[in-house]
Symmetry: D3
């Protein structure tokens, strides 16, 4: 009954999101033997203005 949450930079299109949901579910299933039907995946888009490392937003990195 796993719940997989993925935060990533915004900008992936619908087809890439489909692939992410599929590949990550299959990967978890291969690793554990869990049925894919029990695996939830929730994607969250994050703007580069809202994500920082080293004290600086990625939007400001050059």
């Amino acid at each position: 009954m796993p719940i997989i949450r993925i935060e990533m930079f915004e900008g992936r299109d619908r087809e890439q999101k489909r692939q992410i949901i599929k590949e990550v579910t299959d990967g978890f299933s291969r690793a554990t033997g869990a049925s894919p039907d029990t695996v939830h995946v929730v994607l969250t888009d994050v703007s580069t203005e809202d994500w920082g490392r080293g004290g600086e937003a990625f939007a400001d990195k050059t």
Copy 2:
């Protein structure tokens, strides 16, 4: 001082969100005896393209 976070499919209108905040807070309070004033609720809308089960986005399920 509980924090209750709810991820759900997008599309609830403002009145339904009011009801969710009220009912969930009251439910927690009844279960624990905690004062409703200490209960935070944060709602997050998730698109059906961003939520998958069984390796497939809900947007693609027929």
Copy 3:
């Protein structure tokens, strides 16, 4: 298909946790008309040393 996550101070016993899961699920269901069977609840215990407000851990408040 909502997922409800609750962070609260540690120390609730198993019976209280049962009540929280039941009451919060029923509250969400009443507010939205969603079937309780689709509602997930995940509880997280937080130590008072790990939770602060006003810059001070609750464990240190007198």
Copy 4:
């Protein structure tokens, strides 16, 4: 390798977000001695309709 996630009311402009990422990263670094380069910060804007306390959305408090 800490990950710092901040939920706050929406409405901060880009310059304030820059300051939040910088100040919170520096604060964590001062407290722990960790290099700022290892600190991730992710900001999440929450609408006052989606955040409640005491069973009432902040949008409805007068």
Copy 5:
């Protein structure tokens, strides 16, 4: 720079956790072309007393 968080029932041993981290990272990388080096995975064990569906903890389901 994705962050992948996985909540699952407690009880996986260290070798299974290794496999989960590896397979999920590779799956994300295949789907997006992102370098595995940028992918963080954080696992969270959840007790069956702390996870409910349909208003009932999994620990109580027969």
Copy 6:
């Protein structure tokens, strides 16, 4: 009314956690002008077996 959640490697002692709560709260307050009294901080310890990057748990990196 911000909520700040910090995931970090386990092993910080109580005094370091006090400093983290204090410094991060003050940093947020300086950046935004918000009163420290409104700032919640929740710390989460993560084992190096449960945190991976590049498909490998930190516990296994040499």
